[in-house]
Structures are given as structure tokens and as C-alpha cells.
Amino acid sequence: MTASQKTRRGRTLPLHLVLVVVGAVMAVPLLYAALSGFKSTDELSRNPVGLPESWVTSNYTQILGSGDFWRLIGNSTLIAVGTTVLIVAVSALSAFSFARFAFRGREALFTLFTMGLMFPFAVAALPLFLLLRSLDLLDNPLGVILPQAAFGLPMTIIILRGFFRQIPGELEEAATLDGCSPFGFFWRVLLPMARPALGTVSVLAVVTSWNNFFLPLLVFTDAQWWTLPIGVQQFQGQYSAEYAKVFAYLVLAMVPALAFYSVAERQLVGGLTAGATKG
């Protein structure tokens, strides 16, 4: 080791220390929940911090063996997929028109959509609920899918418009000369080229839908349609005295989101930073 390397290491040591401490604060709650799931509730009150004396797997296996948990996963998946397909299809059409056409009213319309970024969902929750009730969409997955798609439009349109505008105009001219209609160009040329951007906005839509709590809470009174976040809250209410069970439930409920994150990290972070800087 050379002298300069040594001083460099000496200088970065306190920084590493800071990172280790912050990292511990971030990781410990998750690890604690995972470990606690392997204890019995009795042991958890006797020995809250240490490793389990005997590893109890029944908390986890009971949840995984019950249909309820899988139904929540199924509902959350159905709603996330439905939302994402709708959001991407509708936004891509709109972004295509914003990016490739000059038409009267374009700027006004785009401003209208960007204003949607300023509407926090909580603001519209009550009137939305009243509307969904009058449309008979309560206890219906569409009652969550449609509003989620509507509220996700602005961000998705902004990201896709930016991407579509980067695709050179010569390509469109060439396609038109070859007899391509505007929709043909959109479908056969633009969309395949925009696959990375479509991936990004899809990942954003999936995560947002998966984590949504407020809207499913309003729309689903029937337990048959509950999504994962609602299920977790209900489970805690039901088993509030059995801490170990609730921890196991929490951990299992986090696994899909964390797994998805580890697969789609780049799209997620890229999309969020692009959305924030362009929006």
C-alpha cells in the first residue's frame, strides 16, 4: 500500500462510518421485522432484540398457506396490471400527438395536463368517491384502475412526450413516403423504438398502483377485493396482540415490492428522476 492510498483511506474512514450508521438505521427495522417473524409472540416479548432461540417458521408458513394472502396479491397484481396497460396505452397516444403534431390548442391542452401534476390525489378523493358510487363502480376493480390511470396520466405523458420528441423527424417522413398512416407510424415505428421509455413509465405505474392505499380503502368495502396494503392494515387490526404474526405478515407483504425494485431499479430511479426534472 502506498502512502497516498493510506492517507486517502484515513480521510474516507469517517465518511464510511457515517454511511454504516445510516445504513444500519435503514436496514435494522426491516431485519428486525424479518427476525421477529421467526419468533413466537411469547419469545418476542421476552427477547425482542436478539436472534430467535428457536426458529419458528409457522408464522410465515401459516400466512403463505392461507388463501387470503394470495388473494390480496392477486388483487394487487390485477389492479396494477390493469392500471399500467391503460395508463401506457392512453398516454402514449396522447404523447405521440403532442410530440409529432402541430395543432391548434396543443399548448393549452398540454398545460391542462401538466396542471394535473399539482393535484394531490387526496384532494380529489372525496368527490371521486361520490362519482364512483354514482357510476356503481364501488367494489369493482375498475373503480380503482380508472382513477389511478387518470391521475397517472400527466407524469406519463410528460415523460413519453420528451422521449418521442427525440426520435428524428426524418424517420416519420420516410415512413409516410412508404405509405404509413400516422397510426401505422406510431404503432410500427415509434412504439418499438420507445421500448425503454415505455418500460420506465410502466415500472412507475406498477409501483404507484401497488402501493396505493387511499383509493382502495375508499372503493373496496368487500374484503374479496382488498389489495395488499389494505390487507396488512386489516391483519394488524385483527391480530394486534400477536406481534410475531403481524411482523411475518409485514415481511411477506414487503417482499413483492422489494423484489420488483431489485429487478427494475434502473427504470424506477431513471423514471423518477426524469419525471421530476422534466415535470
Partner: protein, 332 residues
Amino acid sequence: MTSTYLPDKRAGRDAGPPAPAARRDRARARRRTLNWLTATGFQLPALVLFMGLVLLPMLFALYAAFFRWGGFGMPSDYVGGENFTRLFQDDVFLGDLWRCLVLVVLSLALQLPFALAMAVLLNQRMRGRAVYRMLFFAPYVLSEAITGVLFGMIFAPDDGFADQVLGGIGLDGLGGEWFADPSTVMATLFLVMTWKYFGFHMMLYLAGLQAVPRELTEAALIDGAGPWQRFRNVTLPLLAPTLRISVFLSVIGAIQLFDLVWVTTAGGPDHHSETMAVTMFQYGFKRYQVGYASAISVVMFAISLVFALAYQRFVLRRDLEGATTTMRGDGK
């Protein structure tokens, strides 16, 4: 190619009876109409969805806010501005506004600077930086509801895990009732929000930092600027657009905070952690004072709108030029 084609065209035009200019104009007008129809046709699904499920409900809330209404049938008991005057005499709602402000101030004073510090740290080449980045950002992908349940248990009063850990490192005095004590509930909430969201802001800053040209900081280094001066006078100004966006998102987040509060405290103890959205939910869905709850929605919307417009007008203007407002001629 065109020049060889021209004579034919001219010959054809001379032969045709209708005035050529008029025909050309009509063709152009038709093409323009067709173009407009195609363009707006592509917009139609988005427009219908957005109008129907975002704008229309908001307009209805604006209408319902002027009625005393239990939420069934159409509102008929018109009360004028009574809901609004009541709102601004309602201690809980005034408290909501105060708590929103507290969270915003805490975020700007503590959470965002902390996120920035971590971003600067992790922007250096060092071992394990990808792991730290991933770990710090991970809570962002968890649902607020799940995060809330987790921390509700970790911060269980008196003998929860947080108290055990603090006791273990000799800081018993810091522990206590957490969410159950009116004097600590907001601080606890803020801790959880920071755990969940600082990584998101850190990622924004990291993206911003990576866009700072190396040449500039190197030039400052050669000019003899110390690390703090380089950060203060080179990096920070270049990061300003990212910072402004992150502040904006932070404030909007505080205005609409609901999930986390609802699953941890439901606004308690005794309204000490209640937010505007929670109050709205209580009146709209538990007490069936839908007219009053609509007034809360309208005020929340007005606050977001005024904030967003003012922020855009005074703070974001430079950053957003060409980004969201226009695309005239710049070809970008």
C-alpha cells in the same frame, strides 16, 4: 425530379376549369382539418379520462362545498359560504394547517439537507456505494401503509423495539410513548417520513450531481478553492434546479399526507397528528358531513394550486422554460 415534373403539372392545371388557387386553398384547409382531427383523435382517450375522473370530481366538490349535505341524493340545502367560515374557526383544521407547516419546515431544514449530504457522500467513488444507494432508496418502494404498520410496532409505547435499542445504548431518556404522546407524535411521524423519503430526494440529487461537469469543479480546484467553496460556489448553484423540484415535491407531499398518519395514529392522540386529508376523511366518510368535507377538499386544492402557481411563477420559472410550457421552435 420536381423540375422535370413541373411542365406536366402546369399543363394539367391550365387545362382544368376551376380556379387553381382556390382549389389549392381548399385542399390545404382540408389537409389541416384532417391533421387537426388526427391529432385530437389521439388525445381523446386521455382527455376523457382526465376530464371525467380528475376535473369533473373537483368541480363537483366545489359545488357541494356550498351545501349542508349528508352525501346521498343531490345536495339541496344551500348554506352559502358557511362551510368555509366554519372551517376557519375549526381548531382541528387550523391545527392541520399548522402541522402541515411544521412538517414542511422540518423537511426543508432537516430531511432535504440530510439527503443532500448523503448524495454528496455517495457521489464519490467509494467501495459499497451502489449497495448504500440501493438500501437508502429501498423504503421508497414500500407502501406507506405497510411502512406505517411496521413503525407503529417498532415505536410501540414504552417497551417497543425503539425503546429497547435506545435503552441498550444508554439513551433511555430519549424513548417513551412515541406515537401515543401528543408532544412527540409529530417528531415520530417526521422520523418515519424521513426514513421512507430521504432516499428519494437523495436519488434526485445524485442525478443532478452527475450532471455537474467535472471540468468546473476541477477548474475551481486549480484556482485554489477548498472543498466547501467548491461545493458552495460550483456544485450547489448547478444543483439548484434539482433542489427546487425536490422542495416542491416535498411540500406537495406534506399537503396530501394521509396513508402514513391513518395507519399509525388515525390523527390521534386527540388530533395531535391529524392532517387535512385525515380531517377530510373523518368528515366525509365517518361523520357523513360531505358538504363540510368537500369544503376541506376545496381548500386543500386551493392551497396546492396557489402554492404550485406561486412556486412556478417565482421559483421554477427558469427551470421549466421549454420543459413543460412551450415547445415553440426550439426543436427540443
